[in-house]
Amino acid sequence: MNLLFALAGAPLAFLLASLIAGRHGARLIWIAAPVITALAFWLALETHARPQGGALGGWMPPLGIALEADGLGAVLLLTCALTASVTGLFALGRYGGARPESARRYTFWPLFYGLWAGMNAVLVSRDLFNLYVAIELLSICAVALAAFGSRQAAVNYMMIALAGSLAYLLGAVLIYAALGTLDMSLIAQRAPEARASVLIAAALITGGLMAKTALFPLHGWLPPAHGAAPTAVSALLSALVVKASFVILARVWFEGLPGLAGAGVITAFGVLGAAAIVYGSVLAITQTGLKALIAYSTVAQLGYLFLVFPLAGGGESATPWTAGAWGAMGFHLSAHMLAKAGLFLAAGLMIYGAGGGRIADLTGLARAMPVTSLAFGLCAVSLMGLPPSGGFMAKYLMLIAALASGQWHYALVILAGGLMAAAYLFKPLARLFAGTGTPAIRALPHRSMALAPLVLGAAAIALGLLSAEPYALMVSGLPEAGEAGLEEAEP
């Protein structure tokens, strides 16, 4: 059995198993977490040697379905497995056996595995239709999980997600009509034949994926949905779901349609990304609710990802490493997965312990919940882009690429974004230390729940200390345009 199919299929198998197991389904996470993480680790080791690929039943495209994992895919599969595993184990505390009967205990786990399956399928697919199916699965599960929190926010989320899917599907159909294929590498070969219709299709696909990624100014649905959801769900939505649509977007432009993007498109991505950083950070600073703050932080952090469009290829001659901006994107994707999930989990525990969700409610909590507070701090360090952390590696590589290619305005935005992140994250951090007494807190359902965000935070830090191997993997087998830049790429 091909490793890629195993990775895409394993969460689906657990989805079915959790449906069958009913109220015992929660315990499956004890098997799912180690199995899928081990598979992802195995894939990373294999991909280190050479990019992985395979076709279902041996039928290669255009006839069959092919799956592929390049280095970036392998890193993200592993990070995603780690994040989902830890979040899943954390969720046992809430959707496990100890609580009174509720419908959510039955519905959470199938949706959780469905979301995981959608993520994995997105990361190994290279076919526009497969990607559509994968992201639909992901979106449906995400919307249903968001409804655990606020139904209104989930409905808004659904509207945006459906509109995005529709636009994406329309774009894919146009591409199929014009080029007769949906396979990424075949699109790349044939795109120059029908430039005009491909351009329209690309615009539709991009618009749809931007809405799903919540890129400014299409971010409005995100903070209510992520802010109102239960803790584990917020972590999954903010850390994983929004990354999937971005990865597809990056693959479409860098792998499928290199050379199509003119200076205007590239600049548009860069400007929107920069605007997202500034706007999201400013709104995060003004929040008084802890989860709303973290949700707006996601809006800001997603902006950094879009800077890969103008920065790819920047300063290749000046640096001893290759594909700095592409590596920065990889570091940012994986560091944000770990740190944002950890931050939401820590925040959830602190809100539970303190009995209130405002930042002011956190006063003195570092004394009552030291482990959770430390986890919050570690995740915050990575999000601020301070060393040593995966977030810092991303920022450093981005800054070098920006300055080496003379795009200093992006460097200024990145530096300002780091300072603003410090401004909004030190707000809750300072509350944790403030005051002199030790506040009384509600005991956690399980003491070990505090370890979940700690593991994620430590992983985000470790990514910045042991960064050489992940980096080598992220840039192995990358698309040509990821190294040379979009404008330089041959159509």
Partner: protein
């Protein structure tokens, strides 16, 4: 793994073990204290081994890649070892002092965890062999110090923490901007080789220099970036001692030395005409800090402004860039550390045991608390520059260095500054020793009951060290000889 690679790792990891152990051993004070002391002693042992090795020309280096071509480098050259030795010695003294000072107070586990993390950062900064390594540890220091500044959680401490972050994080952003601008043109910079500035125009190179020094200046407390340091006085006394003597301000000053000598190189700094403006800024800081110190009646605040002033001697020596000036600046890195930590130890003891925080309360303290005040007085005299205490040696070399470099005005700055030092330190000594005891002062019996030798001995030890460093400056392995060794290796490669 060979010994050459092991030494730098051990020096960084030695404080990391008690940092983690302190966090885990919450509530078990004895075990925690034992581990803290044991590892401080272990580190001193490793330092002694390295001192002997480096003097004989040995070379210790350890590296690991962040990304291809961008390495984390820990490297023990003579300059690194100067700072490592200082931090190892003062770490031991401060650990003992902190154990006594915080005895019975709350949240010691957290305190010792971050305290040791600061020492990890200081060791890493000292041994950094590349700009990125320096920045990584520099930021760890920023982050590890903040919980110590806000340790008490009072409104004043929280405000001090905010001020501290505002200055240091803005400084870090400027430093990072300078580093990435530089490395985007020259590739990753290692201190052993220096930066290749050929890709930059003189104007760009100067702007990068300003960004780097400006960023470092926030921690060094160069004016106008000094305001956080007096505010940070809200922290517990051992933290102030650490901040002022080894960790934060020294990290900044050490970075300035690295940038001038090992990133740009003295010839380039001179060719770009950057040395003199920096020397002028350092001189302005020296005088301004002293003038402000004169206006403070709170003892710790006065000491804080004194630090603003004294740390700039290091920057002055580095920016003047003659062999004697360099020796004066580098040796002051050690001397100021020994003297300032003594003063803060003393201020902490005075506040803790006698409730003395203001200068006007000092009347007659000398005879009631003779050991503490004697140590305090030696350090204060050293700060003024009275021979044979260590501070005199620094100033002497700086003055000669200024003359050598054709900047004779430096001598005037030093004289005025010494007069100001005398003006703000001598009244303290006068009150403590010559005035009759104030009525509010606890009497002998009360003081005898609160006497803890663990609180008093570290200050006495560092005062003796400051005296010894001045008296035996000519001996081998004295701070002065070591600074001369460094200068020799800079100027006669």
């Amino acid at each position: 793994m060979s010994a050459a690679m092991l030494v730098p790792i051990l020096l960084v990891l030695a404080p990391l073990v008690p940092a983690l152990a302190s966090a885990l051993l919450s509530g078990r004070a004895r075990a925690r204290n034992a581990i803290n002391i044991a590892f401080a002693a272990f580190k001193l042992g490793v330092v002694a081994y390295a001192l002997a090795g480096v003097e004989a020309g040995a070379f210790y280096e350890w590296r690991i890649a962040f990304v291809p071509g961008l390495d984390m480098v820990l490297r023990l050259d003579a300059l690194a070892l100067l700072f490592v030795t200082l931090s190892a010695v003062l770490w031991m003294a401060t650990t003992l002092y902190a154990i006594a000072y915080l005895k019975g107070s709350a949240h010691q586990a957290r305190f010792f965890a971050f305290f040791n993390l600061c020492v990890v950062a200081a060791s890493g900064i000292a041994m950094s062999g590349s700009l990125i390594t320096f920045f990584v540890f520099y930021e760890i220091l920023t982050l590890a110090t903040w919980p110590l500044v806000v340790h008490t959680g009072s409104a004043k401490a929280m405000a001090a923490g905010r001020t501290y972050l505002a200055y240091t994080l803005a400084g870090s952003a400027a430093l990072l901007a300078g580093i990435v601008w530089l490395e985007s043109g020259s590739g990753p910079v290692e201190f052993a080789a220096g930066a290749d500035l050929s890709a930059f125009s003189p104007l760009a190179a100067s702007m990068i220099f300003v960004l780097l020094i400006g960023g470092l200046g926030a921690k060094t407390a160069l004016i106008p970036l000094h305001a956080w340091l007096p505010a940070a006085m809200a922290a517990p006394a051992p933290v102030s001692a650490l901040l002022h003597a080894v960790a934060v301000v020294k990290a900044g000053a050490f970075g300035v030395v690295r940038v001038i000598y090992d990133v740009y190189g003295i010839e380039t700094v001179a060719a770009l005409g950057l040395g003199l403006p920096l020397a002028a800024l350092a001189s302005a800081t020296i005088l301004y800090g002293s003038l402000q110190a004169l206006r403070q009646s709170d003892i710790k605040k006065r000491l804080a402004y004194s630090t603003v002033s004294q740390v700039s001697y290091i920057v002055l020596g580095a920016s003047l860039a003659g062999p004697f000036a360099v020796i004066g600046g580098l040796v002051h890195l050690v001397h100021q550390g020994l003297m300032k930590i003594t003063l803060f130890f003393g201020a902490g003891v005075l506040a803790e045991r006698a409730g003395v925080t203001d200068i006007r309360q000092l009347d007659g303290v000398g005879r009631r608390m003779p050991v503490t005040m004697a140590a305090f007085s030696i350090a204060a005299l050293g700060m003024i520059g009275v021979p044979p205490v260590a501070g005199f040696v620094s100033k002497w070399y700086l003055a000669i260095g200024g003359y050598q470099s054709g900047a004779s005005w430096v001598i005037a700055v030093l004289i005025v500054s010494s007069l100001l030092n005398a003006a703000y330190f001598l009244p303290l000594l006068y009150r403590a020793w010559l005035k009759p005891a104030a009525p509010g002062l606890p009497d002998r019996n009360a003081l005898a009951a609160s006497r803890t030798w663990l609180l008093i001995a570290p200050g006495a030890f560092t005062a003796a060290a400051a005296l010894g460093a001045g008296l035996f400056a000519g001996f081998e392995l004295s701070p002065l000889s070591w600074a001369a060794l460094i200068a020799e290796r800079i100027y006669l490669p």
